[in-house]
Amino acid sequence: MPGGRSQKDTRPLKAKWFHILLSLADRELHGTAIMEEVLQRTGGAIRLWPGALYGALGDMAEKELIHEVEPPEGAPTEGGKRRFYAITRKGREALAREVAHMEDLVLEARAKRVGEDLQGA
């Protein structure tokens, strides 16, 4: 179990945090937009409910994985006040580490030929 590792920086990211960081990897977004992107990406498997979403954004900002930024010029705000977030250097590192970890897992799975036995069926 990866969770059993004691070193802090190798602990896997929570799925929600991972998806939030991934959404912010290439652009700055506000909360609702993050939620929508995650919804599209996971086909509805991960629904970021507002309490969890804004709780996570706050915690992540506290851990300096993301930070709040001025809304980009001409950004759609649906009429209200929207807080935009950007990924930080620390956030990128955490995301990259997680992706590398996932790649390792995929490689290991390939080595074990996971799924090949199902393809014929």
Binding site: M35, G44, E78
Partner: protein, 895 residues
Amino acid sequence: MRASGEGWARRVYRILLRAYPRAFRDEHGEEMEVTFLTLLEWEGRRRGLVGRADAWLSGGGDVLSGGIRRRLQRKAGPAANRGPGKRSNASKGVVEMMGTLLRDVRTTVRGLYRRPLFALTVILTLAVGIGANASVFTLVDGLLITPLPYEDPQELVTLWEENTERGWSGVNVSPLNARDWGARARTLEDIATFYRQDLTLTGEGQPTLLSVVRASSNMFDLLGRPPVLGRGFAEEEMGVGRDGVVILTQEFWQRQFGGDQAILGRTIEIQGRSRVVVGILPARFRFLDEEPEVFLPLDLVPTDHGRGEHFLKAIARLSAGAGIDEARAELDQIAIQLADEYSDTNGGWTVRVSPARDDMLGPTAKPAALILMVAVGFVLLMVCVNVANLALARGEHRTRELAIRTALGAGRGRMIRQLLTESLILGFLGGGLGLFLANWGYRGVVATLPNHTSPIFQFGLDGSVLAFTLALTLFSVLLFGTVPALRFSRFGIGALRDGGRSGQSSSSSRFGNVLVVLQTALALVLLVGGGLLMKRISEIKAQDLGFDPENTFTVRIAPPSSEYPEAEDLRAFWNALEDRVAEAPGVLAVGSTQAHPLMGATWVRSVQIVGQEQERSTRLTYASGGLFDALGFRTVRGRPLQAQDDDAPSWAAVVNEAFVRSYLTPDVDPLTTSFGNPFDTMPPIPIVGVIQDVVEQGVDQTPEPALYLSFSQAPVRRRSLVIRTIGSPAESLSNIQEAVWSVDPKIPLDRMETLRSQVDAQVGGFAVVANLMAVFALLSLFLGALGIYGVTAYAASRRTSEIGVRMALGARRGDVVRMVVSQGGRKAILGLGRGLVLTFVLTEAMGSVLVGVETRDPFVFLLVTVVLALVSLLALWIPARRASAVGPMAALDQE
């Protein structure tokens, strides 16, 4: 349709968001709302109604758990979040717990889904109980808990003068006394004074009457609510001729000037005089129990008036650290000093200090709210008893299921948790639905509040109502969930052997018996309480008011002093007005008075009856000659005031029966009595007639001695015009307006109301309490019957085989019915007995706070007991009959 659906969802979600601390809500609330609505719509598109329901369940859970976590974090302080090790341990525990909880929830929901009728009954019953409690609590919260909208409102007190020697209380304050209190009292930080006035707004289109408060310069600082734009009043602006400034309330500013900021520094014309706008008050600023539109500086300095002139209202702020008792003691001392120094004006006068809130609430609101709270609490108790009963009955059906789970190794703790989870889920669903109902319920309750309830009291489902509902839900769960949980978790595997009937029957029937007794007792209390109040209401409604409120309406009219400066002008104006209106088509009678009945105005004067030593205090009403006809006063002796009394100072007085009863001995003929004229130069005023008592002050108050004088002795400017019409007043309205305006086209007509509506509004205060009590009483009757029915039906069903045996052995149906009914009936009678004792105690308490309620009314007690006994009998008879209808073979087949 969609838009309104979204509006609805938005409102509900906004209520849920209140689980979060305010700061968080302010920061993220709006975005959370948008995020949720987006998800809701997405789910709706994807999975239709199921998706929406799922979104509400998940989203609702998310916002509630998130909010509670936030609040806990905040309570624990930021330091608690810092320790990373601690936090991760805790959160691991939480995750595990959540896992078990989720499993329990899933099992429970599946179980409930299989028995939708049970779940629905429980949820609906709870919703009614909790909803009613939340609605009443909203009222209690608004009236008694929510702080007044001022800085440190608990420090605010109102000051009144009292004269115990003359039996006067709640008298306005004289300016010099207020000044001296302020200077001498160390327990008071400051005293502000004001009085209310109605002036005409001129120069802005049609003249309209303005509700004005004339306030001392320190008023807004004392309340801690200074103007948001501009400034407050300065000390040098107090006094006649210096008061050429005005401060607007936000509402008036928006309505009259569209919120134009440039109004500051401009002048508006009030009562023909230009005044500079110097300030705008904050939005939703409330001024005690007044509803002023603008504030003007006090047009006086204390030295302008004598100490005997009592006309100001006073509000004060206690000094830091000073309690209200200390302030009372100190002001008593100061009053004694002043009485020494100015014995001719201040002898016998003391000061009454009361918390500002109590003063605005009046004497009945607090006890009435508490009575309702107790009553509705009883309803919830009955609901819980019923639900516990249902859960017990259902639990016994489940004995096998639970026994199998025990056999498979589920521990007792796990079982209790499972059963409690079920209660919790039902409780929260019921509570949620209850809150939803309360959203309408409280509006209904508030709408029926008497319209003289101060607008300072605001009602809504705020944080404290939500917290109360949550606590109430948990409390209910504890009440109805614990007994079944403890009972059923005890079942051993033995239950599998005999179909689950071993052991627990006797204890469950014991519990059933307790339920019947409890239900009956509680229902009796509520029914008697409701009955007593309803009876009082019908008495109030049926009472003789002394005037005829049908087809009559009143309107307040104040001819401006700029146009009608002298007494002669006023007299001419009012005479012309009455004459002209009397000629209008559809008008039967017209009169005027400075204050019509139920207007809430008190003019109390002391008079000297010729031949008596003592001065007598009496209500004083000035009336034009037409008033007695217009109001339908009934003359008992002599004659009423007449039109001829209006003109030449004919000096005639009319008194009411209470006056004669209180102040004249039976051997004295009132018509030979007269009053000493206050102006010694004039001859005494003879009493020319006695009228039947008129309810002037309030429908629940006994009429006081009253004296009626003609306007010829005091040409009062501002009066009520009272008009009796032939048909409905609405039909003659335009004719009357025309008639008024034919005398002066610039006269505003203020507060045009039918007398009937004023009477109804007065009854309203009592009616709210009584009607709600009646609703709760009926609810309790229904719940009681349901409970008794449930217990009996269940007990009978458990005895099916026994009944079968009895019938096989030759018992007749009637015997079986009699047996079942008599066993339940004993419990019901026991309940009635206990209920009567409880009722005696509680109605006594009710009578001590709601004046006029006859708490020992044998008729109500008897009626209610009989009704309850009959309903109980019916609730016993139906299941008994059903049980007896089972044939002996069918009953024995069950074995």
